[in-house]
């Protein structure tokens, strides 16, 4: 990913750096917004500071890891079922 001028602007290293910085600022702002906005918790813990951020992140981490674990048993080559079909 060099800064070659022929490349699309979106994949330039400088753009990607900028995107990461902007994203981190936006992420921080959504959490800091809780200082101003009163979060109405329904079950107690969802009122905590940055609860949704941490919950969302951990939920995704858990789902990716579960998927990775199940992949050990479930993943097969993409032609697994097609073998018989090629004889058509």
């Amino acid at each position: 990913m060099s800064d070659s001028p022929n490349e699309s602007w979106l994949v330039r290293a400088s753009t990607i750096r900028l995107l990461w910085r902007v994203s981190i600022v936006v992420l921080a702002l959504t959490v800091l917004a809780q200082l101003v906005v009163k979060m109405k918790g329904y079950f107690g813990i969802d009122e905590w500071f940055a609860f949704a951020a941490i919950f969302g992140f951990l939920a995704c981490l858990a789902m990716v890891l579960v998927a990775k674990f199940l992949a050990i048993f479930l993943k097969r080559d993409e032609n697994y079922y097609n073998d018989g079909l090629d004889d058509d």
């Binding site: 936006v26 917004a33 969302g56």
Partner: protein
């Protein structure tokens, strides 16, 4: 007389005419028929319009209510948007089948009794199978047959349930019930098969991605959502649906995360989204049923939009695998933007349709103090952003540069995508307008500062998780096994073994019987003195015909076993 005619019949006529008309006339028909249908849908008043007696049953071909009109409206809108998307590219028989399929869905919406519902239900099974076959490849043919078997099986189970309810209660009325006896369980299972509920969720991701780029747009809209409507009408508040729904939500996410085929990712996310609706129906309060109906409406729009953007990519590049795609935003900006709008809507971002309908379902869980359900749905919302909201557009339009520079969408496909994108945003920005269409009065405000901040945190941090975990999500050229492995591999393998066993047995029996015949002939020869006892006298015609007949029989048995196994 006219009160006996369902609005669905307009699309039936249009489907029949599609094969006859040519050129501009056909295009006009395909675009206008859904609009006329939409008008007719809104002419249906509340209540049963008329009844006819048939074999001692009171048939109610047309029954109206806000809920029924809501579903029929979105089906008519989809017939229009799908028609606009497809009419220049799909073959005429795919277009005709799509209209008949939509007619079946709208017919189910207005069916006042179980028999009418069943007829339109089977009509959908029939014409959706044809759409799968229109994929045109050997894989599509095989998937279509598996799809047909699954839906015919579901139809039989549904029929058993209907018969049971009719015989034991004497009524074929569509009315709320609980799964409390054999009949109602059969009814529930028959409907759930169409909703792609466990353990047979696999049919959806098996069949839809094999259809043509235009066909999958139609397939994504009708079958599962009519099942949702049927569940709302027949089983609101059935507690087991909460857990079935939650299972579907998680199943969809996990399988979509493992998947490499772009349209199969979207297919798994249908199961995930229908899971939200099924869960809401299980909760069963007015807010929950509003949420289920509203979410079905919003879902049909953004899921069709996502399938449209995937369809354009396949139409232009011929590729569907994430491992082959990437970097297409350079030359397909409109398709990319529409795909992203669909992705944001399915993730339930504020200002999109998904936000104003999905939060209704969560609110229903809160109202009933279902804490576990609420948090699992919140986790699933994060997971939706992960698997459909970012994964789909990222791997198709961004990630690496695949080197492909395809043209953007043809004008009609672009128009259909822009139309649905606008609907996604319109519903998201003006929720109160949309809430008026829902079956029950809505006392709910989606845009409170607290809720918006909660969902922004939840979704944006899921996005962060995606990019941090990207090394774990490298695409591989693989598929994931599902319960359909049982009938596609285990059962068919067992049947093959059985066939081999029979054929071996046949050969042995044949050998034994010829030996016996020789003995018999020698014996009779001895008796009548017509043949000598010589070993070389085996070629007598009357004695050879029987083993040949047996061989033919065994070949027939084998062939039937083979045909059966092959199509499973």
């Amino acid at each position: 007389m006219t009160e006996l005619l369902s609005p669905a019949l307009i699309l039936v006529v249009s489907a029949l005419l599609t094969g006859i008309l040519r050129g501009h006339w056909r295009a006009a028909l395909i675009l206008l028929a859904p609009i006329v249908t939409l008008w007719a849908v809104w002419q249906v008043p509340d209540g049963v319009m008329a009844t006819v007696s048939f074999l001692g049953y009171e048939i109610e071909p047309v029954e109206g209510s806000a809920l029924r009109r809501l579903f029929a409206t979105i089906f008519a809108i989809m017939a229009f948007a799908g028609g606009l998307y497809a009419f220049r590219h799909a073959r005429w028989y795919e277009l005709a089948a799509a209209q008949a399929y939509a007619a079946g869905a709208i017919g189910v919406c207005f069916a006042g009794d179980l028999i009418t519902m069943f007829i339109y239900w089977e009509m959908m099974a029939l014409f959706s199978t044809i759409i799968v076959w229109c994929g045109g490849t050997p894989a599509a043919r095989a998937a279509g047959i598996r799809y047909a078997i699954m839906h015919l099986l579901g139809g039989i189970i549904l029929k058993v349930g209907i018969e049971g309810v009719a015989v034991h209660t004497g009524s074929i009325n569509i009315q709320p019930m609980l799964a409390s006896n054999f009949d109602t369980w059969m009814l529930l299972i028959g409907i759930l098969i169409n909703a792609a509920a466990p353990p047979v969720s696999a049919w959806l991701a098996d069949a839809y991605p094999e259809s043509s780029p235009t066909g999958s747009v139609f397939l994504s809209a009708f079958t599962t959502k009519t099942a949702v409507l049927a569940l709302i009408l027949l089983f609101p508040g059935e507690p087991i649906l909460i857990w079935i729904g939650l299972y579907m939500v998680m199943y969809g996410i996990i399988y979509a995360l493992l998947e490499n085929d772009a349209r199969r990712i979207l297919a798994y996310s249908i199961v995930n989204q229908v899971g939200f609706m099924v869960c809401a129906i299980g909760i069963g309060t007015q807010t929950a049923l509003n949420g289920a109906a509203g979410h079905a409406f919003a879902h049909i729009i953004y899921k069709a939009l996502l399938f449209m953007s995937a369809g354009v990519v396949i139409y232009r590049t011929g590729k569907t695998k994430c491992t082959d795609l990437g970097g297409l935003y350079r030359t397909m900006p409109l398709t990319t933007i529409c795909g992203i709008i669909g992705a944001l809507a399915i993730s339930g971002f504020p200002l999109t349709s998904g936000f104003v309908t999905k939060t209704l379902v969560s609110q229903a869980a809160v109202d009933q103090s279902l804490m576990l359900v609420y948090f699992l749905l919140a986790a699933a919302s994060a997971g939706v952003f992960l698997h459909a909201g970012i994964k789909f557009p990222w791997f198709v339009f961004f990630q690496r540069d695949s080197g492909m520079r395809p043209k953007d969408a043809p004008w009609n496909m672009a128009a259909a995508m822009v139309f649905l994108s606008l609907l996604c945003i319109l519903i998201g920005v003006f929720p109160t307008l949309f809430y008026q269409l829902l079956p029950y009065p809505v006392d709910y405000q989606p845009y409170t500062a607290g809720k918006v901040v909660f969902y922004l945190q939840l979704l944006l941090f899921s996005g962060l998780a995606f990019f941090l975990l990207l090394p774990l999500m490298r695409r591989t050229r693989t598929i994931s096994l599902d319960t359909d492995w049982i009938w596609r591999v285990a059962l068919s393998g067992a049947a093959n073994k059985l066939a081999k066993l029979f054929s071996d047995l046949g050969i042995r029996i044949e050998a034994q019987s010829s030996a016996r015949l020789i003995r018999l002939r020698d014996y009779t020869g001895q008796f009548f003195g017509t043949h000598s006892k010589h070993k070389d006298s085996q070629d007598g015609h009357p004695f050879r015909s029987q083993p040949i007949g047996q061989t033919a029989l065994w070949i027939a048995v084998l062939l039937s076993a083979y045909v059966l196994v092959y199509y499973l």
